[in-house]
């Protein structure tokens, strides 16, 4: 394509630096917001007002910000549950099932300590909370391990297995918290039992302490992939299972390991949302919505290209937008589903902009036509 005396060309990138990838992603977000402005205008809302409503609620309001942070922690954990198998070339679609099981396991510990009997039961937080976390991790890891084992041992498709486990665990939760279930709540309205106040997860400035676990995991996973032997083996297996096998990396161990690690983190996400977020402290009857929310972990994982640190801003953005979008929809009396439309536009643009991870636009000053130069012949 020619513009004036310049020629615009697409050139294949040889390398992609971190800051280049970051710039491309930021441009993608800005572009998505620009495109979505059209929808705001069609809905009769000034785009600036719309975005102000979304972002100020999500990131500055004293009501919205804690919600955003809780979602962010949840999404980040789900993203990591997805990323670890992804680096091994495997797809964990089972974060929902793993987090349901994590939550159930945590509440099973509380139940065993008699938490169901009374809201005012005094339990030793120092013992019960670590046990609940441990149980949630084990529960999630156990569900993950099923998919990993089947993949490693029998080469069973992990997408199908994790997906099916989502359904199974969904109904197990239903059986346990609904009427007559072991974990049924006192109100009988379909929620699970509420934790006694004595074992509420500690808050730090109103934020559950699980945020530190999530951020700690970010650093840990970065380190895992950049420096450790096991991280190397996972990456090698992910890029070429045949070459990894040749190099002496076990084609059984790696799938099992990544699904245990992924399931473990998803289990923690289950603990976080149902046992650590203020105002909940129970497995709510709409627990399925959190399972659905977990699928944003896939989106965040794909956009961050499996980079644990890059996943932080992306999970924060999606956490904020799912939250602020819903608020703005109500406040500005927008049509149903406009928040999902915004997320959809954003996802498509972010994925489309990954084109620029491989190509760049270059401007070349065009040479004079050779016919002008040729004298001979």
């Amino acid at each position: 394509m020619k513009i004036g005396s310049y020629e615009v060309k697409l050139e294949k990138r040889v390398t992609l630096r971190g800051w280049e990838a970051a710039t491309i992603s930021i441009l993608a977000v800005l572009f998505a917001l620009l495109v979505f402005s059209y929808i705001f205008i069609r809905a009769g809302v000034d785009p600036l007002t719309g975005y102000k409503a979304i972002f100020s609620y999500a990131f500055t309001s004293s009501f919205g910000l804690p919600l955003t942070i809780n979602r962010f922690v949840f999404l980040l954990l789900c993203t990591y549950a997805f990323i670890i198998p992804m680096r091994a070339g495997l797809w964990n679609i089972g974060m929902a099932g793993q987090l349901y099981t994590g939550a159930l396991s945590a509440f099973a510990v509380a139940y065993a300590f008699g938490a169901k009997t009374s809201q005012t039961a005094v339990l030793s937080a120092g013992i019960v909370i670590p046990l609940m976390i441990g149980a949630s991790i084990l529960g999630g890891a156990a569900v993950g391990a099923i998919a990993g084992f089947l993949r490693g041992r029998f080469n069973t498709n992990e997408i199908v297995v994790t997906m099916m486990l989502n359904f199974i665990t969904y109904w197990v939760v239903a059986r346990l918290i609904k009427e007559g279930g072991l974990f049924m709540g006192a109100s009988g309205e379909g929620d699970g039992f509420k934790l006694p106040e004595s074992i509420y997860a500690p808050l730090i400035k109103g934020v559950p302490f699980t945020i530190f676990i999530a951020l700690g995991l970010a650093v840990l996973l970065y380190f895992l992939f950049a420096k450790t032997k096991i991280g190397y083996q996972i990456k090698a297996y992910g890029l070429s299972p045949a070459a990894a096998k040749y190099a002496g990396i076990s084609p059984f161990k790696i799938p099992l390991l990544v699904f245990i690690m992924g399931g473990l983190i998803a289990g923690l996400a289950g603990y976080h949302y149902f046992a650590a977020v203020p105002g909940l402290y129970r497995i709510t009857k709409n627990y399925g919505e959190f399972g659905d929310l977990a699928f944003y972990g896939i989106i965040c994982g794909l956009i961050s290209q499996g980079e644990p640190l890059a996943a932080i801003p992306i999970a924060l953005l999606f956490g904020g937008l799912t939250n602020g979008g819903r608020f703005a929809q109500g406040k500005l009396k927008l049509g149903f589903g406009i928040d999902y439309a915004l997320l959809g536009v954003l996802m498509i643009t972010l994925v489309a902009f990954q084109f620029f991870y491989r190509y760049k636009i270059v401007w070349v000053k065009t040479k004079k036509e050779s016919s002008d130069v040729g004298i001979h012949g």
């Binding site: 420096k227 070429s240 040749y246 190099a247 002496g248 076990s250």
Partner: protein, 515 residues
């Protein structure tokens, strides 16, 4: 039509000043050459000399940045391979592009404009049979492609191009996967084709004898430029190699006599299945001693790959035993075998021997992640390994900008040098080299063969698997020709004659026992 009036010796395709740049590489630099009717024109060059780029330009896959193509004196501009096909250019790729589950005839008419929506296999069959008769091809049109040998698949590709009306046939390394008798048959057919004023351009890297035998003219490329353009009659193997590499090349790696010691590898009645579950290795027994190169000669697909994988711990045998230094390792993992001193150079250097997206350092780690000298407490010593990689790059003369470039950016020869450097740096007791010089140019081949001889000198054992008869004969102390999963015999290197081993590779058992 123009084509009818083409006479022998007329220029059919001419390239003038072809230049093609890729980021950081000048792949073709002002290349001129012409192809004449009824002539076989070989294009010779090392890996990375620009042959493939040039071929892709002739076939319309790439557009040149500068320069022009003239077909029958008329300027042409191929925007796609379809354009090139319509104008009578046929291409036979080195990596066969056929559908294994379909029959020969179905593959030949695939995508043919005449095929239409409803296939008239009968008419097409008749026309193809005529082509076969004319050029001396023997092939069962109803056979499924997966049942064919490499040579037969090649014939299918050629027929496909001819059936489409190709007048200029480009063959990419046409003999690389063929057994000696198949090569002979192919060359005969090619000669018959030239009588019909077809112009044929084979691209050949390292099989110089074939260039000399079959072609009339040669264009030699070096680093993207034409370094020589000559009549084959005026060329010798030595002069061509010098033009290609830019220096004199040793053709036969010196055979070194080393005193043989204890057996390192002992294989007893080993049998295994291939991926399809078919017995591919049938009760093979042999041993490799210290200071010995044991050569297995055979056309690919006769069980060598399965044998190599079983020995490397990548495939489970059905029966039999494998002993390394007298200790049974039949059921150990590939990791344990690395640790015990088996070094494996796989034939699939891109898919198995390396990881394209990994840096050179990370590729070296493929054989070091289990090495305690380079990882402490589960943390990999990237710094130390980077240094190790730098050392290997300079010692093995790997042409690469640095240790952080990806393996993807290396040419075949340089990638093989890197793999060789990595495996040999482990100082293996037993080196299994599976097609170590396949597809490499003369320079790289010479280098790899020299290194294999060095391993032998250090009193390690080498199991060499090769399709190149000359290579096996010149390097091995003992030669085992392999056919359909069995050894046709084990012959001391000194007694192995080319014709005899060639015949055994094709399935003939010699009656040596009956003296």
């Amino acid at each position: 039509m123009l084509l009818e009036s083409v006479k022998h010796g007329d220029t059919v395709l001419e390239a003038r000043g072809i230049t093609k740049r890729f980021p950081g590489v000048l792949a073709n630099d002002q290349i001129d050459f012409e192809i004449k009717a009824g002539e076989i024109h070989a294009i010779l060059g090392e890996n990375g000399a620009g042959k493939t780029t040039l071929m892709n330009i002739l076939f319309g896959l790439y557009q040149p940045d500068e320069g022009e193509l003239y077909l029958y004196g008329k300027k042409v501009n191929f925007r796609s391979p379809l354009d090139a096909i319509h104008q009578g250019i046929g291409m036979v790729h080195q990596n066969r592009k056929l559908i294994p589950a379909h029959t020969v005839i179905e593959n030949i008419i695939l995508g043919h404009p005449k095929a239409g929506t409803i296939l008239n296999l009968k008419r097409a069959g008749k026309e193809i049979t005529e082509l076969c008769d004319k050029y001396g091809f023997k092939i069962d049109l109803k056979a499924k492609v997966w049942q064919l040998s490499e040579g037969e698949k090649q014939v299918v590709e050629i027929l496909k191009a001819l059936y489409r009306g190709a007048k200029i046939l480009i063959l990419d390394e046409p003999t690389s996967a063929l057994a000696p008798p198949e090569t002979k048959r192919l060359l005969e057919s090619i000669r018959i084709m030239t009588r019909d004023e077809l112009a044929i351009v084979p691209f050949i890297t390292h099989k110089l004898p074939i260039v000399l035998e079959v072609s009339e003219r040669v264009t030699v490329l070096r680093r993207g430029k034409v370094s020589a353009r000559l009549a084959t009659k005026a060329a010798t193997e030595k002069s061509l190699a010098r033009e290609m590499v830019g220096r004199d090349v040793v053709f036969r790696t010196e055979h070194v006599e080393v005193e043989r010691g204890n057996p390192i590898l002992q294989v007893e009645n080993l049998s295994a299945l291939n991926d399809k579950g078919v017995p591919a290795l049938k009760s093979v027994s042999f041993s490799v001693q210290e200071g010995e190169v044991f050569g297995i000669a055979g056309v690919s697909g006769n069980g060598q790959q399965v044998l190599a994988e079983v020995l490397a711990g990548l495939r489970k045998p059905q029966r039999g035993r494998v002993l390394l230094d007298g200790i049974e390792i039949t059921h150990t993992s590939s990791l344990e075998r690395w640790l015990k001193g088996t070094g494996y150079i796989p034939s699939e250097r891109v898919d198995v021997g390396s990881i394209a997206a990994f840096s050179l350092v990370e590729n070296i780690i493929m054989n070091y992640h289990f090495d305690n000298r380079f990882s402490k407490g589960g943390i990999v010593d990237y710094k130390g390994l980077r240094k190790l990689t730098e050392g290997m790059i300079s010692e093995y003369e790997v042409a690469a900008p640095g240790p952080d470039t990806t393996a993807r950016s290396l040419s075949g020869g340089n990638l093989q040098k890197l793999i060789l450097a990595r495996v040999l740096s482990r100082k293996p007791r037993l080196l299994i080299a599976n097609l170590p010089t396949q597809g490499l140019d003369v320079g790289a081949t010479e280098f790899v063969q020299k290194k294999i001889m060095e391993v032998k000198k250090e009193k390690a054992g080498v199991l060499l698997i090769s399709e190149d008869l000359d290579e096996v004969l010149s390097l091995s102390d003992r030669v085992a020709p392999m056919y359909e999963g069995e050894f046709m015999g084990i012959i001391p290197g000194g007694e192995a004659r080319r014709e005899m081993v060639g015949a055994m590779m094709a399935g003939l058992k010699p009656k040596v026992e009956a003296i």
